[in-house]
């Protein structure tokens, strides 16, 4: 296992050697940015903004290879011991030097109980400082994707002095990091601006002088803003707008099948206690009673894929031999009758409005199908950030719609994030499932791990924690002046400082 990984990643930026950053890129994002502290939100748009300012130890490039970032090189000493050589001479934006102490500080900080994103640093048991810039990290057990987790912005390195002096609020509102961009301003509900970091340690990075993230919740308003040139890049475009955009010569469309897997979660921990969703047959019936393919065709123009479980079709461990649960309303009705609800029941369901493409419409369609089973859904549409607050506190109704994805096409993070009791986002607890997920997450052998995830998927179909839906093709549209941008399956924009530029 002893193997040094060389700093090949420097070649990554070599092509644009030392060109000064120029131009402004404006990105239209759907939900408002909630916080700029990546340990406090799992929302990908907020994480993307934070990732411009703060950096983790490693970088996962668009090809899925690990590259050096704050760590110049790394070595796996044994299945639970990692050695990182940190980059020297790096300072945070406020002048504080970056050392191994900052790494340890960030790990401890990220594990405070109120943090929403404890997962990336969670495997760490202790850190040993060999010197200021060499650190040995020991994990509590083997973790097959620990290095990839170190490339996650939720494992970003915080400046200890700034955090100590200015407190948590400052870290969330005026973040300081080592990243290619420096925080500029944040007008809540409107925009966040970041500017090129003139002292960034990689020459020629970033290629842009200014980056503006504008909140435009309505997808049609985003499209209009793009067409009028108010923004250069519009994320999450509904599929039915794509043909029109492709005819516009000023605009180009890019797309990727997203790792984000959508579901309607059942709550058996708080609000769902004592409701019919406690019954396995009811949850199975709901899965059988919704014609997911018809929804994909009508609302996504067919640009989405049915999933067979909470492991996405582009993720490690996906079992292509396991068919998705079929649409079988007759069996669904029979199951409901067997469970003692022949004429259905009323139940609450929540849905974010404007967080994802067609979220509101999808929830209506699902509620429409459940209605046919006699399940009378009280649908509540909510502003996304309020929605996620309630979700993190397990205060949403017994049914709620959401989507979770991951950065490296591996189901570990989302499975643990939504289905193990340690996570704040878990609304459904099932011991058997948790044990399987934990076992798969600590198995190093890829083949054994794959088999474990196949069992996870089968267990999920037998006793569904969710109503399984789809993963969508993400459409993004950009002005012709934007160079070097392409949609990515994980919706991450971490490559933006290295690759993206604008022409006049």
């Amino acid at each position: 296992m002893r193997r040094w990984v060389l700093a090949v990643g420097l070649s990554l930026v070599g092509v644009t050697a030392a060109a000064a950053p120029r131009g402004t890129l404006t990105i239209g994002i759907p939900p408002d940015v909630h916080t700029l502290d990546p340990t406090m939100t799992p929302e990908v748009n907020a994480e993307n903004v934070a990732a411009m300012i703060m950096e983790p130890l490693l970088y996962l490039d668009p090809q899925g290879r690990l590259q050096p970032l704050l760590a110049e090189s790394w070595q796996v000493l044994d299945p639970t011991t990692y050695l990182f050589r940190l980059r020297r001479g790096v300072t945070f934006h406020d002048g504080e030097p970056f050392t191994g102490r900052a790494v340890e500080f960030s790990w401890r900080r990220s594990q405070e109980p109120h943090r929403a994103n404890r997962e990336p640093f969670a495997p760490v048991a202790r850190m040993e400082h060999l010197d200021d810039h060499t650190i040995r990290i020991v994990t509590g057990g083997p973790d097959p994707i620990f290095l990839k987790k170190m490339a996650n912005v939720s494992a970003a390195i915080f400046p200890p002095r700034y955090a100590a002096e200015r407190g948590d609020e400052a870290a969330a509102q005026r973040p300081v990091g080592t990243g290619p961009f420096v925080f500029g301003e944040w007008v809540r509900g409107d925009h966040v601006t970041v500017r090129a970091n003139p002292r960034y340690y990689r020459p020629g990075v970033p290629r842009l002088a200014t980056l503006v993230w504008r909140t435009i919740p309505e997808s049609d308003a985003r499209v209009a803003a793009l067409q009028t040139g108010q923004i250069d890049l519009a994320l999450r475009i509904p599929a039915h707008r794509v043909p029109g955009l492709e005819r516009d010569p000023r605009v180009k469309v890019t797309s990727a099948l997203s790792t984000r897997t959508f579901y309607v979660a059942f709550n058996n921990v708080t609000t769902g206690r004592g409701t019919p969703v406690m019954d396995r047959r009811v949850r199975l019936a709901m899965n059988l009673g919704v014609d997911v393919q018809a929804i994909i065709k009508a609302l996504f123009q067919g640009q989405a894929e049915r999933v067979n479980s909470f492991i996405g079709n582009v993720q490690f461990g996906h079992d292509p031999t396991l068919p998705p649960l079929p649409y079988d309303p007759a069996r669904a009705k029979a199951l409901l009758a067997e469970a003692g609800y022949p004429s259905g029941f009323p139940i609450g369901m929540a849905c974010p409005s404007g967080a994802y493409v067609a979220d509101r419409e999808a929830c209506q369609a699902i509620a429409g199908y459940l209605d046919r089973l006699g399940i009378r859904v009280d649908l509540q549409l909510m502003e996304p950030n309020r929605y996620w607050d309630l979700e993190a506190n397990r205060q949403l109704p017994p049914l709620f719609f959401d989507g979770m994805g991951d950065r490296f096409q591996d189901p570990d993070v989302q499975l643990k994030g939504a289905l193990t009791p340690e996570s704040r986002w878990t609304a459904f607890e099932d011991k058997a499932l948790t044990e399987l997920i934990t076992a798969a997450g600590s198995t190093l052998d890829a083949e054994r791990r794959r088999r474990l995830y196949a069992r996870v998927a089968r267990q999920m179909q037998a006793d569904p924690p969710f109503l399984f839906l789809w993963q969508v093709r993400n459409f993004e549209a950009l002005r012709q002046r934007v160079r070097g941008y392409a949609a990515r399956p994980n919706e991450s924009l971490g490559h933006l400082p290295f690759d993206v530029a604008v022409s006049d």
């Binding site: 707008r241 009508a298 419409e361 209506q364 649908l379």
Partner: protein
Amino acid sequence: MSLRLAAGAGLVTALILLAALAPLVAPHPPNLQDLAKSQQPPAWVRGGAWANPLGTDHLGRDVLSRIIYGSRVSLIVGAGGVALALTLGVVVGLFAGYARGWVDDVAMRLADVQLSLPYLLFVVAIVGVLGPSLRNVVLVFGVADFPLFARMARGETLRLRSAPFVEAAVASGASEARILLRHLLPNMAAVLVVVAAFEMAAMILYEAGVGFLGLSVPPMVPSWGNMLADGRSYLTTSWWIATFPGLAILAATLGINLVGDALRQL
């Protein structure tokens, strides 16, 4: 002039009939979803069919049927809201105008406070706390609109109480209740009815507005505001989803306003 009244009365009658007879008139149940027929255009457009004369929405629900059922929400909010505002307003206005003194001061300052709050802010705040439902919308609209009627009723009371026939009634020993109910109220009814008509039209419009913001009835209930909200993201591809409920709002408010206008000129 009589043409206006006829047109207005015709529209209002049609609205009431549609709302009352919705299950008989509507070709389909309003929430019947058929995704295979999603975004089907109106019958006269290529690709349309007479089974869904005004086309279908993104979930394949019949637009015409939803408009017909949606008239119920509009009518209940319009009529219910105005009835509540009128009742509250007349009671407060009558007493304030008749009693004068501190009762008048307190009542009118309360009305001023209410008037100083922006309408939409008030609605957003209250519905945000109580949750969106038909009852809450009626309640909020009624309370938000009552100062208008209170001020009118008070003004009329002040004007009428010095009229000779009221003084005669006082002189002949009529009780206060009799004066209020038999002499003052009937004489201000004409003015109040005209204003009530205009306010009802305005409330239908407001309901659609707050419905568009997701603050009126729950999202699955067919209402014109909800239909507008649903249709906005399809305006460029399926114009009929939002256009027809928009026309329905136009027709209803136009009809009621025409009636109000005609009443005013009587």
